[in-house]
Symmetry: none
Subunit: 220 residues, 2 copies
DNA sequence: TTGTCTATCCCCCAAATGGGTGACAGGCAA
DNA sequence: TTGCCTGTCACCCATTTGGGGGATAGACAA
């Protein structure tokens, strides 16, 4: 599971960085930024997710910098696919969005780090080294979002944005009820419960009822 | 969610008590005991758990006195099922067993109080009022067992009698893993995980993975 | 008025789950 | 030695669950 490439190298060759970014200006500034570090080299750049997926395997970079908003396939989807084929190459999202929803989607899809675009050069280099060392670098604002979402008690709602019916459904779910039992309890059709659950899963970023209950009970 | 009957009543009608006890002599003596209090009335009595489950919903009592050793389904299992359908009716175990295992099983399955049969009439009345007020009455010998178990184990084992492999499985279950993910985690066949889960369900008296997780996380 | 949100319900289909039963190897105790 | 417990794995079968559609109705805001 470890990136053996970065273990065996000893500052003989610069670490290869690939950048995926559709805006030419931003791409240029990043490329220059990366090249300014003697221990890093930009070995490839792509303006679309589709191009990146085709080109990256041959480049075998040490780390990938990925924008989220790309024309066509999003950077998140691109990350998910890259992780399927090249699970050991860390992907750092480098984007301007700090929305929770986008952030969680990125992390769920395999992003190893999440930096805001206004990150300063020294920080970027530290983040790159960090992620190559198995870390998960993220801007402090981003880290706050993540911690808040995981924290128990006080500040963080374990199930943010749920409607009242969805909250009722979740409450019964945490009692171990089946869909049918929940439906009977609320005098609804099982199909409605299923719909509520789908929405709950999506909002809580889980895939199964057990995961939802586990998250809700451990973080409340 | 509250029992409005006991809120709105102001000593106008006696509080309804249901007794579940298979031995006719004991049942009679309890019934007389309860009826001796002007503020309580025995509104129902059952000799088996099965009868109790069928009859209690219609009676809507304020409190249930439950023996543990019943023919067929045990009083513990009966309590667990009652708690699923009528979670707001307090159940007080009134039995002669002071074995830790039985005691913990009863408490884990939703018993609100635990009295030994040799409890004196005045104590019984105090315990009934206590449990109706949200308390958890128990004989002093029983309380000692409970306290001791907290010192030892750290809070009453939510999953008693699990083998080490079963505990590992349960731990991964509470992370929301699927059977396949658990199997991969432990380097086992999915079939083995399924076997462990069946044993866990049986020992914890639950029917689904979500119920197991809910119980484990709420009562630890 | 036109959206958007919430809540309700429906269908299809594949995968996961729960329950039953059975088997076999080791370890450990009576 | 003979059980009993634990741990492992297998097969069958019915039900539940997850994921993908889509539909309708009411409420409320732009």
């Amino acid at each position: 599971m470890k990136d053996t490439r970065s273990n065996t190298r000893d500052h003989q060759a610069p670490l290869g960085v690939v950048i995926v970014e559709d805006q030419p200006d931003t791409l240029d500034s990043w490329r220059r930024l990366v090249s300014a570090f003697p221990d890093f080299a930009c070995v490839g750049a792509f303006a679309t997710a589709e191009d990146a997926l085709r080109g990256i395997p041959a480049l075998a970079p040490d780390v990938i910098l990925m924008d989220i908003f790309l024309p066509g396939m999003s950077g998140i989807e691109c990350t998910a696919r890259l992780k399927r084929d090249l699970p050991d190459i860390p992907v750092v999202m480098l984007t301007s969005s700090d929305e929770d929803e986008i952030l969680f989607q990125a992390l769920e899809n395999g992003a190893d780090g999440y930096l805001l675009k206004r990150t300063r050069p020294a920080e970027l280099r530290a983040a790159l080294l960090d992620v190559l060392d198995g870390g998960a670098p993220m801007s402090s604002e981003i880290a706050r979002h993540v911690v808040r979402s995981f924290r128990r008690g006080g500040g963080g709602d374990p199930a943010p944005g749920l409607t009242s019916r969805e909250e009722e459904t979740l409450a019964l779910l945490t009692k171990g009820y089946t869909n049918k039992e929940i439906a009977d309890s609320m005098n609804l059709s099982v199909e409605t419960i299923r719909t509520h659950l789908k929405n709950i899963y999506s909002k809580m970023h889980v895939r199964t009822r057990t995961e939802a209950v586990a998250r809700y009970l451990s973080k409340s």
